[in-house]
Each structure stands twice: as C-alpha cells, then as structure tokens.
C-alpha cells in the first residue's frame, strides 16, 4: 500500500514539474493578465446580454470586434481590460467642442463622478487615444474601420454603463475589482496606487 502511494506521489510530482513550463508557455490572455494585473482584469470578459441588446446595432458590432480573439482586441489581451476600465469619454463623437461641452455638463450634473479617479477617469477623447494607441502597436493589425467601430462601442458603453442612473452600480462594481486586486495582489495594488494607475 505504502509503495503504491509513493508511486502515485512520484508520478504526480513529476507531472507537476513537467506540466509547469507547459502551462507557462500556453497561458490564456486572462491568466497572463493576472500575473501582472490591473483591477480591470478581475472583472468579466463579456457584457451581459441584456445590456448588449439595449445598444444600437453599430455599437454591438464594435463590441463583437472587441471581444474577438481573431483580429480583435482580445487577440492581445483579455477583453476584461477595456470592459472594466475606469475610462469614460464624454458624448459628442469626434467633435472636440461637443465633447468638452458634454464634459462640462457632466461635471455640473454628477460632480461625484470626478471625486474618485480609481472608479471614473473622465477625459475627452480618452478612448479615441487608447484605441489608436493599441492599433499602432506592432502586429496589432486592426484596420481603421474596425478600430472606429471598437472606439464607438467603448465611448458609448462608457457613458451608458458608468454614468447617469448606472453610476452607483458601476462604482460598486469597480470598487469591488480594486478590492480584489488589493486582497489578491497587494504588492501590485501598492505599485499601481503609487503610479496613480489604479
């Protein structure tokens, strides 16, 4: 009996030793993100169907592109990263002045959204810059039309899900993610906090 147990333990040990590098080499984007995580990475990688269905068709198309692992954002990183981001881009489309006006209106209507930058980071053209930045990374391969669709989704979604009547629910969700990071990876939490990147 003891001999049998020793044999099983040895096989298990060998399995663990040889499987470890394999795991490291073939980690999913989610697993990889969690080795050096942001709070966003602890959140869901998809939107609830009910939320998605309430979005216009062109915005839904942008979402599909975003979560795609073939030629979309998720080819490089987990979709959780943009979907749970604190970024909010004011309404107004590509018109700077309209965005600035919307930002001013938001500051007046919901000043609480500007109190905690770990929950809401509201800036004009913030998603526009980020999407273009990702598109210009080597090997990204996202074409202009797809990039635009992804941007339109992110800008629309950021207003719909994170402000207005949904602001409290978003704050609870986002704070929960920050707490998860603090509990699971306190070192990384401190690092991001110090870098004002939480």
């Amino acid at each position: 009996m003891n001999r049998k147990l020793t044999l099983i333990a040895a096989v298990a040990l060998l399995g663990a030793v040889f499987a470890a590098p394999l795991r490291a080499a073939e980690m999913t984007e989610k697993e990889k993100a969690l080795t050096n995580p942001y709070p966003n990475d602890f959140g869901p990688e998809t939107l609830p169907d009910a939320v998605l269905k309430s979005y216009p068709a062109n915005v839904q198309a942008g979402y599909k592109k975003l979560i795609s692992t073939k030629g979309g954002c998720a080819q490089c990183h987990s979709a959780a990263r943009p979907l749970n981001s604190r970024f909010v881009e004011p309404e107004g489309g590509i018109d700077d002045k309209k965005q600035e006006a919307a930002l001013a209106a938001l500051k007046k209507a919901q000043p609480e959204l500007f109190a905690d930058a770990t929950v809401w980071q509201i800036e004009t053209k913030i998603w526009s810059r980020y999407v273009k930045r990702m598109m210009n990374k080597p090997g990204c391969g996202i074409q202009k039309a797809d990039g635009k669709a992804i941007y339109e989704f992110l800008a629309y979604d950021s207003i719909k899900r994170k402000t207005g009547a949904n602001a409290a629910a978003w704050a609870a969700h986002r704070k929960g993610l920050v707490e998860q990071l603090k509990a699971k990876n306190p070192k990384r939490y401190d690092e991001l906090k110090e870098a004002k990147d939480l």
Binding site: F18, P21, A24, A25, E26, K32, T35, N36, Q75, C76, H77, I94, S128, R129, Y130, V131, K132, R133, M135, N136, K137, P138, G139, C140, K144, G147, K148, Y151, E152, A195, K196, D197
Partner: protein
Amino acid sequence: MSYRKAFIVSNALVLAAFVWAFAKDFYAPWRPYQAKYYQMAADELDKQAAAEKDEKKSADLKVAAKKMRRSPMEIKQIISVDLGRFDRCVTCHVGMDEYTNTTLKNNFTEHPYKAHPKVDTALIKAHPFNKFGCTSCHSGQGLATTVEAAHGWVKHWEKPMLKGVTIQGSCVKCHDNFETLKGAEVAAQGKKLFNKHGCQGCHAINGKGGVVSVELGDIADKPFERIAGYNFKKVRIDGKELPNEHHDSHWNLQNWIRAHIVNDPAVVTPNDPFAHYNSEPIPPSGMPDFTKEIGKDEAEAIVAYLSGLTKEEIIPYRYHVTAPPAKEPQLSGAANGKRVYEKYGCQGCHGLEAKQGRRRFNAAGDGQKEYDEKMPEAEQLEQMNLGAEPTLPKLVGTYTKDELIHKIEAGVPAADAKKWSPKGPMPMVYMPAWKGKISKQELEDLATWLISIGVKDDSGF
C-alpha cells in the same frame, strides 16, 4: 643492482638532465632573434664607421660594433613595479630595449628587430617603456619568452596582445579624458558610436545606462569561461570565418565583442526557441541586429572602447588622468528632447531618430502571418523574427504629453508583450521604468520631441 651501479646510473641521469637543461636553454626560441639583432645592429654600426670621415668617430663606431657583436645572450626584462608588470618582450624585441639600443631608434623594418614606430611621439614620451613596460598598453603575457606564449596565443591566457586600433582601449583604462586625447581617437569614436546607436539604453557602464542587459563597466575582465559556449565558428567578418592563426586565438574577448556587432546576434546565438533541448523555449540573443547600421571599421572602434573597460587591473591613482564629465549642450524643448532620446539610448530599441522599432523576438510585429502550429519551424522562426518594438512616430500621437511622460516613467514589463507563437519564448526585451533616472525637465522635453515627430492621425475618429 649493487649500490655502486645505482650510484653510476643516477650520476648518468643527473648528467643527462643537466645536458638536457643546458641544451633547452641553449636552443631557446628567443636566442636566434637576439643573436640576429646583435649581428644586424653591429653590421649597421660597421657601415656607419666605414662611411664616417672623422677617424676618431669611425674608430668609436667600430668599437661599438665589436661590443654589440659580443653582447651577452640574456633574458631582458622591464620591471614596472607600480603596474605589476614584468615584461620580457625586449628579449626578442631588442630594438626596444633601452640598454641595448640607447636611442630606441633603428632602421630595421621587420619585427622583432625594428624600433617602436611611435618612439618619437608625445605618446611614447609620456609613457616611457621603463615605467609602463609593454603589456600595460599592448597586453599579452609579459613573462613568457616564446612567440606564441608571449603574444598570449596560448590556452588559458586571457589577455592576448591587442591588435590594430583595439590597442586604444588601453588609453581608456587610465585616461578619463580619452575622448579628447590625441592618439585615442578611435576609442573616442567607439564611445560615440556606442551611445549613438543606443547601446547604453540596455547596457549600463559604471551604473550609467539601462538595466535590460549586462553592465559593461568591466567587460574587458570577462573571463574566457563565460564565453566558452560562444560559437565562434558561426561568426563571419566580411563573409569569412574568423582566422584561427594560432591555438584557438580566435577565441578572445575582442572577437566576442566584435561578433555581436558585425553579425546578427540572433544568428550566432540562436538558443532553443522551440524547446528541443530544454524544458522551456529559450529565445535567441535579444540584442538587435546592427549589421545594417554599423560598419566593420565602426565596429572596431566600439571594440577598442569596450576593451578598455576594466576593473580588474589595479592601476595606482597617480596613473589615472581624471577629467570632468563632458558638458552637455544647453538646449531646450524639442531639440533637447531629441538629445535626451539619444542620451538615454532609446534608439537601442526604437531605432535611430525613432524611425523604426527594432526586433523583439516572438513579439507581435507588422507583416506577420497568423500563428499556425503546423507551420514549418524555419517559417515560424522567420515570423518570430518579425516581432518588433514599437515604431514611435506611429504611436506617440495617441498620447497626451502627461500620458507619455507617465508611460516613460513607468516602463513596460516583459509580461505585457503579446507572443506571436504562444508556444514560443517570452519576448525578452522590455522597457525599464525611467522614473528617477531621467529628470523632470528632460522628460518634459523628450515628450515634446516625441509628440513633434508623431505621424498625422487619419483614422477618422
């Protein structure tokens, strides 16, 4: 065997050993060189005596010639106590022995007979042989008295004689002012090129520079055992293998440095990207391919500079020539930003003038095919080699100035890289955090310059 017989045999053996030792010394390889030198020098004096019209001077020259012919065969050496050198080079290079050739000049054109070619220069006047010896500048094995051993072309001698312009590395050892020193122009050019191509972005020297790869402040002391696994047979200079004129003489530090510059390091050090021999894939050398940017002569200059970066040699402080750090140009705004980009070696990864990101093995890169595990390994390797660092003009326009400064300060960890082949190695090179290393004003100017070179956004959103 009786005691008597044993006594006779042992006497014979002692006698044989004595004869053998005498013969070995008598036929020592340095003797013919010394004898020939004496003969050539005496013949020269005789010629001068014959041509001399003044009888007294002619007689003196004849005496000198006679004396030269009768000079004793001996091991000659220069003892430089301060530098710990005992150099017997003048045993063969008699023309450079100040006791035999008091003027240190002669008309001979061949080694080992000719005088030091720079004997009349300020360089030699500032470095008299009796104070500096030979090997403090030339390297080699000062105590040895055979050609191969003395030049350091033997197994286990780690400082073979420096060839060509690489000797200027010796100036770097003592002269902090070598960048403005006459005679050290090639080493100075080497330092300029080292910085121009951004080597300092990854390699610090005496703590100044990047932390991505090894510190080079003591690169000249790198023991041979550390380059034992280096495949010198793969190295090509002008398409040819390294010459191996003596016992493994191609296996030396200068060739090792040279090979990194005139060859694509990923070809010479391919490692094991498909994990054929290891439990995990190991990427090739992460050093970029500089072969299209740095020519052979420029590479020699870099080799010369790096050959002088030593901590091992104990050089007394009074031999050091200190110099204040070079003054930085007083620029501002974008012009200063470009200077900052070059000062910190950003071009080591992002390319000269930020025009093209360099290779980042197995990272994502433009023009790559989609990964397919059935793809032949040679093709996969080609695709992994297309992995690249970001090309900044495309990227910088997507940042605000503050975002850009924050990015540079925070750096980018290796784990953030997207691998082209999920089974391949993790892309090695990463961007270190520059916070605290680049001053606030420099960062501000760097961001200003980077934004100024950004390509116009035509994305339509």
